[in-house]
C-alpha cells in the first residue's frame, strides 16, 4: 500500500516536470509570425491546438455541438487578443485557461446560473467549487501533457513517429509484427527500435 502511494507521489512529481522548451519556443515563434500577418503560422497554430481545445469541453461533459462552440469561441478570442498576449511562450496555458473559462460558462449557463463576466470572477468561482468541477486540474494537466507528447512526436523522424503512433496511439494497438511489416523490418527489431524512439521522445520532452 505504501509502495502504491509512493508510486503515485512519484508519478505526480514527474507529471509536473513533463515539459518541452522546444515546443514552447516553437509556439512563441508561431505567435510572433501571426502578429506579422502570417496565415501559414496561424494555420499551424490552429492545427497544433485544435485537438486540445476541442477535448477540454468534451471531457467536461459538453455535447459535440457545445464543444464546437467553445472551440470556435477560443480561436475567435485568440485572434482578437493575439497582439496582447504578454508571454507568447506560454500560449498553451493561455489557451487551456480560456477553453476552461468558456466551458465553465456554458456549464453554468445550462444550469441557469448567472455567468461571471470577468476571468477573475470565473476563476474565483471555479476555485470555490473545485471539487464539483469536471475540469479538475489533474485532468487538465493530463490533457496538456498529451498535447505536448503529440507536439513532440512531430519532431521525431518519420520512422520513429510511425512506430510510436502504431504501438501507443492506435486503437487497438498494433502488434510488433504489424509495425514491422509497415516499416519494412523484422518483428524482432521492433522492440529495440521502439525503445530508442521512446528515449528520443523523452529527450524532446526533457525541457
Amino acid at each position: 500500500m505504501k509502495d502504491a502511494q509512493q508510486a503515485e507521489k512519484t508519478a505526480k512529481k514527474v507529471a509536473t516536470t513533463l515539459e518541452s522548451s522546444d515546443v514552447a519556443v516553437h509556439d512563441a515563434q508561431l505567435i510572433k509570425r501571426c502578429r506579422k500577418g502570417d496565415q501559414g503560422a496561424w494555420d499551424e497554430l490552429v492545427e497544433r491546438y485544435q485537438r486540445l481545445i476541442y477535448t477540454i469541453p468534451r471531457r467536461a461533459g459538453l455535447t459535440d455541438e457545445q464543444a464546437a462552440d467553445v472551440f470556435q469561441d477560443v480561436f475567435l478570442t485568440l485572434f482578437q487578443k493575439i497582439d496582447e498576449i504578454e508571454q507568447p511562450e506560454r500560449i498553451r496555458s493561455w489557451i487551456v485557461t480560456t477553453a476552461k473559462f468558456k466551458t465553465w460558462g456554458i456549464i453554468r449557463g445550462s444550469k441557469g446560473f448567472h455567468s461571471p463576466e470577468t476571468e477573475e470572477e470565473m476563476e474565483f468561482e471555479m476555485a470555490s467549487l473545485a471539487d464539483k468541477s469536471p475540469l479538475v486540474d489533474d485532468l487538465l494537466i493530463e490533457l496538456e501533457e498529451q498535447h505536448l507528447i503529440r507536439a513532440a512526436l512531430t519532431k521525431l523522424e518519420e520512422r520513429c513517429k510511425r512506430i510510436i503512433s502504431m504501438i501507443y496511439l492506435s486503437e487497438p494497438a498494433a502488434s510488433y509484427a504489424e509495425v514491422g511489416k509497415a516499416i519494412g523490418v523484422g518483428e524482432t527489431s521492433i522492440s529495440p527500435l521502439r525503445s530508442r524512439c521512446l528515449k528520443k521522445l523523452g529527450k524532446i520532452l526533457s525541457g
Binding site: 516536470t17 485544435q50 476541442y54 507528447i149
Partner: protein
C-alpha cells in the same frame, strides 16, 4: 537519475495509452483558419482561382420560385448565378428604406467563407455558415459587386442592381 528517466518514459507511455482525444470537426477547424484572413493585410501572390458569376435566372418578387427553399420568399427578388459547377442563389428584399440580401452557394467547399459586397455608397462583409448561407443587411439601393472567397476560389458577381 536513471530511475527518474525511466519514470518519465513510463509516464509518457501511460499518457499516450490513455489519450482519448479526438480531432475537432473539420468545419470548426476551417472556421478558425478563416478567421485570420481579415488580418492578412499584404496581398500576396496566390494560386486562388478567380471566376465570374453569370446571371442565369432573375425572378421578380411574387414570381413562382425555383425551388422549395425559395417558396416562402414571396416578397424577394430571386436570382440564380452560375460560375462553373457552382451556383449562387441570391434573394433580395426590401427592409424599410434599405435592402437585405440572403444567399447560398450551391457547391462544395464554401462553408465559413468570406463574403463581401461593395458599391459606391456602401460595403458589407460577412461569412457563410455551415450550410454555405449568408445574409447581408442595411444595404441602400445601388449597383453592387459581390465577392465570395474560400481558400482556393474567388467568385465575383458584378453589377447586381438593387432597387
Amino acid at each position: 537519475m536513471k530511475l527518474r528517466e525511466e519514470s518519465k518514459l513510463d509516464l509518457i507511455v501511460q499518457r499516450m495509452r490513455t489519450d482519448i482525444s479526438v480531432d475537432a470537426p473539420p468545419y470548426t477547424v476551417k472556421y478558425a483558419k478563416n478567421l485570420f484572413r481579415t488580418r492578412v493585410t499584404e496581398p500576396k501572390q496566390t494560386l486562388v482561382r478567380r471566376v465570374l458569376g453569370v446571371l442565369r435566372v432573375d425572378l421578380a418578387p411574387g414570381t413562382a420560385a425555383f425551388g422549395e427553399r425559395s417558396a416562402t420568399a414571396g416578397k424577394a427578388r430571386q436570382m440564380l448565378y452560375e460560375s462553373g459547377d457552382i451556383a449562387i442563389d441570391l434573394r433580395v428584399k426590401p427592409d424599410g428604406k434599405e435592402f437585405e440580401i440572403r444567399g447560398q452557394i450551391l457547391g462544395l467547399g464554401f462553408e465559413q467563407s468570406d463574403v463581401e459586397i461593395k458599391s459606391d455608397k456602401a460595403t458589407g462583409k460577412t461569412m457563410t455558415d455551415k450550410m454555405s448561407e449568408f445574409k447581408l443587411v442595411g444595404l441602400p439601393a445601388g449597383e453592387y459587386s459581390l465577392l465570395i472567397r474560400n481558400s482556393d476560389t474567388e467568385i465575383v458577381i458584378e453589377k447586381i442592381t438593387i432597387s
